[in-house]
């Protein structure tokens, strides 16, 4: 029972991080119909933005988080302006390759400038575990969870309750009609990419704190899971993507706890094939292209 609760908690924590990354993919995908393969590396940039800030500027958690959000957001902003916008309306695959090129630049750039190896992340928060009786958590785990939940709440609030968020959903479903009702599609895309990037940046800092290290090539491991979550859920409902990500995190943690960690990574892929075989538009449906 203790193992179950512990793994459940671990699963929720890792799943919430997947959710933040997946929601970033989903925001950009629904608006631009493009898989932004630079997203995992924007996550990584946020991690190093936070690391540099903690090392040289301030090790106050909020300052570090702000630095990572800003650095990742800036990269997202440039990416939208320089790559995604010129390629809008072009073959989605070509855009995918272009963003992949940007991703390669980012990870190798950070590797060349800082280090190609795993580096230590300054302990901004104490890693002391807290005993909760049945389960134990560490402070970084709690921070990670809170950061993710706040990020998800922000996205939900944005797309459901703000005029711009409503316009985001409108562009996602019918870009032409949205434009004809006064929505500046470029602006909406820009906000979506930047928001997705900033949240990924925050998530990255909390992951860096959680494991105590950072790596220029860490994007892939998280990116692929986030990417799979949006494929499984379909892009029709953002909340669906979050739900799938949480479920995936929990499943992985339970498999690690009860079976073996070697099969942990297979579950996401197995789930993906099974779900799409039965529901080719994703679990919660997709907008057709």
């Amino acid at each position: 029972m203790n193992l179950f609760l512990q793994q459940l908690l671990n699963g929720v924590i890792i799943g919430s991080t997947y959710a933040v990354i997946a929601i970033g993919f989903a925001l950009v995908f629904t608006v631009l119909r493009v898989i932004n393969f630079a997203h995992p590396d924007i996550f990584m940039v946020g991690m190093f933005g936070g690391l540099l800030c903690a090392k040289y500027v301030s090790s106050n958690f909020f300052v570090v988080a702000a630095a990572s959000a800003l650095s990742a957001g800036l990269v997202g902003l440039i990416l939208e302006r320089a790559v995604l916008r010129p390629l809008r309306g072009r073959d989605a695959l070509m855009t995918l390759i272009a963003t992949l090129g940007v991703g390669i630049m980012l990870e190798n750039g950070v590797a060349a400038l800082i280090s190609p190896d795993v580096v230590a992340f300054p302990p901004v928060i104490s890693r002391q575990p807290i005993d909760l009786g049945a389960v134990s958590v560490s402070k970084p785990q709690i921070v990670n969870l809170i950061v993710s939940l706040i990020s998800l709440a922000i996205v939900s609030y944005y797309v459901r309750l703000t005029p711009y968020g409503r316009a985001t959903r409108a562009v996602a479903e019918r870009p032409d009609v949205a434009a004809a009702f006064g929505v500046n599609v470029s602006r909406v895309s820009q906000v979506a990419v930047t928001l997705a990037s900033m949240l990924a940046g925050c998530a990255a800092v909390s992951v860096g704190l959680l494991y105590g290290n950072a790596w220029a090539f860490i994007g892939l491991a998280y990116g692929i899971k986030g990417f799979i979550c949006i494929l499984i859920a379909g892009n029709r409902y953002f909340e669906g993507v979050m739900l799938v990500a949480l479920a995936l995190g929990i499943l992985e943690a339970l498999i690690t706890g009860y079976l073996s960690s070697t099969y942990r990574d297979a579950i996401a892929f197995l789930l993906l094939i099974a779900v799409l075989y039965v529901r080719p538009n994703g679990l919660f449906g997709s907008y057709s292209t």
């Binding site: 995908f29 119909r33 898989i35 790559v83 010129p86 390629l87 072009r90 073959d91 989605a92 695959l93 070509m94 855009t95 390759i97 272009a98 992949l100 090129g101 940007v102 991703g103 390669i104 630049m105 980012l106 190798n108 750039g109 590797a111 060349a112 892939l220 692929i224 990417f227 799979i228 494929l231 070697t262 099969y263 990574d265 297979a266 996401a268 892929f269 197995l270 993906l272 094939i273 799409l276 075989y277 080719p280 538009n281 997709s286 057709s288 292209t289």
Partner: protein, 287 residues
């Protein structure tokens, strides 16, 4: 025979061969992100036969191709209903699953890789392999099924309405493409002398998609050119060791920005199988 350049030449030939396989699969609008896994399976199969059972080289390669074909046909059948091109990225899941399974089978070395493979592959075997693959792809390009494939790629519904069997076209293109990849994987295994599960992941497969789209996915020669350029380019950029991968990424992004259909666009002005064929028929009719 090429001195210090030998490995670069052989890797270029193998990469071009793999990209030809990806090109054939992509002809019907499918995108394989399991290329590395399929090639790896071909490699494992052939290497087991040569190392553990003393098979000769050529039959082992053929078995590698057959294994690839079966896996390809299976993936095509399972993903048939997934119409959206982006959802085609689902193929990466097959690749990753194959990788995870390979990690856990002790018979093929598991995480420690499959080693001790005899060194059978050289320049000539790679060249012959590539020539055969290119010939097959070129013939397929101009065949009835090739035209049907392109029809399916451009508009699934319209193609189905004209009586083309989407299932048949997709299974055949995926199987043929995967067979080429399987054979290339078998060749690679007997050159590298090792097959490791780390190399089966989708990030390796993604390279071949980059090669394909970079060169132009609509023309066979474009795909081959893309693979050649992007295999050699990082080597040419050795002068800037630290930043060559950064430059590599930059080149990809910039080319896509300025040539959104790849180096060789859809309607080529130069030579291509399709173009010269159409020209030939037109000339024949004129006579």
């Amino acid at each position: 025979m090429f001195g210090q350049w030998e490995s670069l030449v052989i890797f270029t030939l193998l990469n071009v061969m793999l990209t030809v396989g990806v090109y054939v699969t992509a002809m019907s609008g499918q995108l394989s992100l399991a290329t590395a896994a399929i090639a790896g399976l071909g490699g494992y199969a052939a290497a087991i036969l040569t190392r553990n059972f003393g098979w000769p080289f050529v039959p082992a390669i053929l078995v590698g191709a057959v294994v690839g074909a079966f896996v390809g046909a299976f993936i095509a059948a399972v993903t048939l209903r997934m119409r959206d091109f982006i959802l085609k990225l689902t193929t990466l899941a097959f690749g990753e699953m194959i990788a995870v399974v390979a990690f856990n089978i002790d018979y093929i070395g598991g995480a420690n890789s499959f080693t001790g493979i005899p060194a059978y592959t050289g320049f000539w075997s790679c060249l012959i392999g590539l020539l055969i693959a290119t010939y097959l792809a070129w013939r397929f390009d101009g065949s009835r099924l090739g035209f049907a494939s392109r029809a399916v790629r451009d508009d699934v519904v319209a193609a189905a309405a004209t009586g083309i069997s989407v299932l048949q076209v997709r299974v055949v293109t995926f199987a043929l493409g995967a067979a080429i990849c399987g054979a290339a994987g078998a060749l690679q295994a007997h050159y590298m002398l090792i097959v490791s599960p780390q190399e089966l992941g989708f990030f390796v497969s993604l390279n071949f998609i980059i090669f394909l789209l970079f060169g132009g996915m609509y023309v066979l020669w474009g795909a081959m050119l893309g693979a050649t350029v992007l295999t050699i380019l990082p080597e040419l950029m050795r002068f800037t060791t630290e930043y060559r991968h950064v430059l590599f990424g930059l080149v990809i992004t910039v080319v896509v920005l300025f040539r959104p259909q790849g180096l060789i666009p859809r309607i080529p002005t130069g030579v291509s199988g399709r173009f010269s064929r159409v020209g030939k028929t037109a000339r024949q009719q004129a006579q």
